[in-house]
Symmetry: D2
Subunit: 381 residues, 4 copies
């Protein structure tokens, strides 16, 4: 699987470093849900290119950029082969303190997309990974409208990349897009239809890490006991770029939407909730702090409370998910499952596509995924 | 279902009051996992007798005893019909500040068991609920050994009651024992064999409420993500009689055993852990305080931490479970499933019988239970 | 002490009910810091009038309004004597879902102030308690500017009331204003000067309850050990009107300002922090949820973490403070300490006046207060 | 100040490494309460000898032993000059998995004490630091009884060392003992009298770090607001030798006693509490986990709850305290304050001597200490 990374930020660096170290047996595969259970091995994955629009990054190698986060001694030399190229901007970094410029500013959008498809062909790419910064965006719904938007240049970077991947699949070879951010792609009927028609697969949307999957499983735990949830409050604070970006109300709203629908999908009723990224506090770095309260009614009109505090490394959590999604991409292509695959999305994403499906607790989604893969629980239970 | 309660303590009072209020629609059925999904209704349950060995309780009605915990205005008058009778002691309250005397002190054990069977026949009982105080005890393993022990009077109160229920089932009618405490009954091959041969069913052991099921589900959550658990510490402190009893090391050890095996069963490896009831603090009353830390490795050698604090009402949590187990008892009898039923035990107990089976995360056990019942998830997911 | 309450909200109701019950020995004086240590007794306090601008409240009695929060059986009949009168609005409820109208809309501001002074004279009032909703406002700085603003009607409700109290003190008798909200009065040089010249005392600003004093004392604890604070995050969420009001960014900013300066005042250096009211979640009601993390460096470059979770009743905490401030008002008047009194403000408020003084840990302020009062620590330590 | 370390365990290694690094400006002095406020500088401290009874340690250098905890690159070479010598055992490591032998087994106790005094004379020692493992022991009360016990050899290692230091002070030069463990020395009248008569000073008992001082200050916070504490539960779990030792009930009881008296001393009434080291969990290492709940009544019969979780490095916390106590030892000697010094003990220890004094909140003790030292609060508040 030849992988193109879109958005050379912290998650990309952690993936690039982690994957190579994993292939060289320098680290265990903790945090990779499917570990060695699937026939696609870690060695089968190769990252071949990376894209960004931040002027400080373009032209640098993944090796140089990884130094911001890692000791030189732990960065595999192989990362020197990955050079960061200019991608599509369309305002995706607007408002953030970075100087950014996209291909489209010089060549226009349609021409830029064609250029990307040609580059990708030269890399013989199979999988595209969207890990750009969260952007404010709504679904497009129909392929016609999408085509019109491409002509007008009226879409976001994620949408433009997603469109380009479909073109690539149609013209070059079947391909997979992993949409790890909240922008609707696997949950936008326009893209699901386009991908089905283009021999492409999209997994998404919004890779599920951190507090959201845990909250989902806690809610399932309460549902199974018929405990009546009165309210849920969940705060997140961190010091990485994601949290900085989410201090903008428009980007923050993207996250909040994802999380609230989950509550009623799992519980079967509306429970008042306040769940969203809350603040940016630079010294926390990538280790974020989550605080949560759940109040519920137990039998006989008694009220109970659960408090959860988590201190988690944000990016490592997503990397394990991405490594699985890349491998599952190969399996989906082999099975010819074009469009999107609910069984995969349900476990690995916060907002599983296709549009219209319900969220489900992760714990349930995991067993469904194992069934889909034909894997038996190795614990024999 | 005509129910005999063994051990007229706080759990019994909460059940007696709660069940009647539920039947009268004064409270919702929150905390009852199977709610109205099974064909056995709350109205089908009737508590017909209660047993204890505490001299202050014997001869009183369930109504009088409920006053210790409830306002008179909320105690259903029907509880005046349940009178507490003298049961078997065999030292079960030894060391606790109560004056206790059992039938066996006057009549010997074999005669006492016969007397109980006769009384139960007069009540036309179907279900027996063991909610006596946690006692130190080991499994007996074989029916022959059990019979020998009965003769010598060398067993605990739970074992004597469990034996008596089998005699009742054999002589009077098929019956169900719900063993809500840690004493091995459903996990003692002696009783499983005896029950199979006696047209009796035992559910057990140790009704799962409070922190243990939540811990199980958190561990499943981590297993599913291949996060490597480094250590688990869990403290429990409360102010009810259970916690007072568990300040005795011998009784405490019963709880610790239950909990540690769960960790390796669910994770698939041994993770260092400290999980046990920790202390008694009277003003906490029935609202116990649980604190837990779990440390684990995420991808790329990063360490994360989860802290959980719970403030839960102890007895209400168990009552919801008991109401389901009584109803499931009827279903098991109808299906003729004598011995014990793993599908029921796996979700509702901490130490599911029969002996030798593995613990499983509760979330998984729940779906298995629904399958066994032929119930579809009403959320349609 | 004859007290006029300005802002007949939840805090007012809790004060009115609590004070009467305290005088009747129905409740202990827990939560009143100075308990029976000062010569002014609870019986010496009488609430004689209340003001508001919410049309649903004006004309009603404190008794009727207390019913929203209390069982009729616990509301003292004496509250029927307190009738809610129309006060000054000046937009103080703008943006909140209430229909509000102030005296000034009919009579203009200057005339309204005169009317109030006359009314207060008829009540023979001594103390005025400002507990209106948090309003966005900046200090005025000079008495001249203040006088000009009164003429133009260009000030907030708190400022108008504070001005009116000064007029009252000048024309009728020395008086005390307790400014329990964040609006700058004791920290506005304009008012401190005006009060000094008018034989009036103002205590303020922003009564210290909940998480802020605890944070102050935790920071003092760390300062005393020379532990280097790396970052502080503190979230607050609640379901009462205060939290609803603070969902408006303009009002929220008032709270954030108060809290951040405290950190550097106590630690002696700037520590990155995120401390502010975070959200509104209606089912929490008056019982708010606070979550806090503090990271600091210990000796030898080791990092430690403290997590705090609080579940506190918001209004009861403020009532204890108000009862002390009313009593301290009497003592300040007796001593002729016109203007403001730092020794009082330092312990009881979040933003102690006069302007320019530093915040101090509460624990230190308490001993300073006892010194000022001439009280010896009854524990003899 | 020439310092002799008694008990070459983890705390000793952390002190030896930390102090040298501090003197070489490799680390900041975070965690040292008095920082550069006192005239005794870090450079004035020199560790000249160390004692232990663990056969694996005797004869090794502090440098070699520090390797168990630190990278060689961070261990100052100077530690090669400190060789571990055989001290007094008297069963202090009984029951722990170490092979231990004391001088007294060969020479008898009286002779051993004489030998130590002679060795110490050759080092020209000023300060003795007792950081041996917690031992079960009761106070002796009178000097006569103490002398008798020395003759019989019927005392603990701490008592024998404390006696030896007094002999040293009497025969060689005035000296200081810092008793950092719970054994009663500063709180045993026998030693206070003996030290006064011997030109010696003892600081103690039980250096205050971790959760106890924080609990003290939280209780002071509640006392100052007249909040009525209903109950306190506090759990500690860790993975260092201290926690291993405290799994023995006899040693654990030493810690529990210390902590419970503090509660009533600070609050002025008995509040039910469960405060003690709870468990040993090896992977936690030196980073211990503390969980605490405090329930209290606020004004108007409302109940509030505070939950605290701490993750703290255990040994670094004590080292900061020891560095101050060594320096304060010099000041006490200069002032000729023989016996013990309450002003020092009150802030730095859990069980401040002399016997009979009350515990006091640490926050209050800190100001008293500054007064005693003649230091003004540098924040000017």
């Amino acid at each position: 699987m030849r992988v193109v990374v879109i958005g050379q930020g912290m998650a990309a660096s952690y993936l690039e470093v982690g994957l190579e170290r994993l292939k060289r047996n320098e680290i265990p595969d903790y945090g990779v849900p499917l570990r060695d259970w699937v026939p696609v091995k870690y060695d089968d994955i190769e990252i071949v290119a990376a894209y960004d629009v931040d002027e400080r990054k373009i032209g640098k190698t993944a090796y140089e950029l990884a130094r911001e986060y890692f000791n030189s001694s732990t960065i595999p030399g192989k990362l020197k082969e990955i050079q960061v190229r200019r991608g599509i901007h369309l305002g995706s970094l607007k408002g953030l303190p970075y100087k950014a410029r996209g291909l489209e500013e010089k060549y226009g959008l349609e021409k830029s997309i064609e250029m990307l498809v040609d580059e990708w062909k030269s890399f013989n790419a199979d999988v595209f990974l969207n890990v750009i910064t969260t952007e404010p965006v709504e679904p497009i719904h129909s392929v016609d409208e999408l085509e019109a938007r491409v002509k007008e240049g009226y879409l976001t970077a994620s949408q433009a990349y997603a469109y380009a991947v479909a073109q690539y699949a149609r013209r070059v070879k079947p391909a997979v897009l992993i949409n790890a951010i909240p922008s609707p792609v696997a949950t936008d009927q326009a893209f699901v239809d386009l991908y089905k028609a283009s021999n492409a697969v999209v997994f998404g949307d919004d890779a599920a890490t951190g507090a959201t999957p845990l909250t989902a499983d806690l809610l399932e735990h309460l549902f199974q006991r018929n405990r009546r949830v009165l309210d849920i409050a969940q705060f997140n604070i961190g010091g990485n770029t994601d949290f900085l970006a989410l201090t903008e109300p428009e980007r923050n709203i993207m996250k909040k939407k994802t999380k609230s629908s989950m509550v009623s999908d799992i519980l079967g009723y509306e429970a008042p909730n306040y769940i969203r990224p809350t603040g940016f506090l630079e010294p926390l770095g990538d280790k974020k702090f989550v605080a949560m309260i759940i109040e519920y009614m137990s039998f006989g009109d008694f009220k109970d409370e659960i408090y959860v505090i988590m201190r988690v490394n944000d990016k490592p959590a997503i990397v394990g998910v991405l490594i699985d999604l890349i491998r599952l991409g190969k399996i989906a292509l082999e099975r010819g499952l074009y469009g999107t695959v609910y069984e995969v999305n349900a476990f690995y994403t916060k907002k599983p596509g296709p549009p219209g499906v319900k969220a489900v607790s992760k714990v349930k989604a995991f067993y469904r995924l194992l069934d889909w893969l034909g894997i038996k629980d190795p614990r024999g239970i």
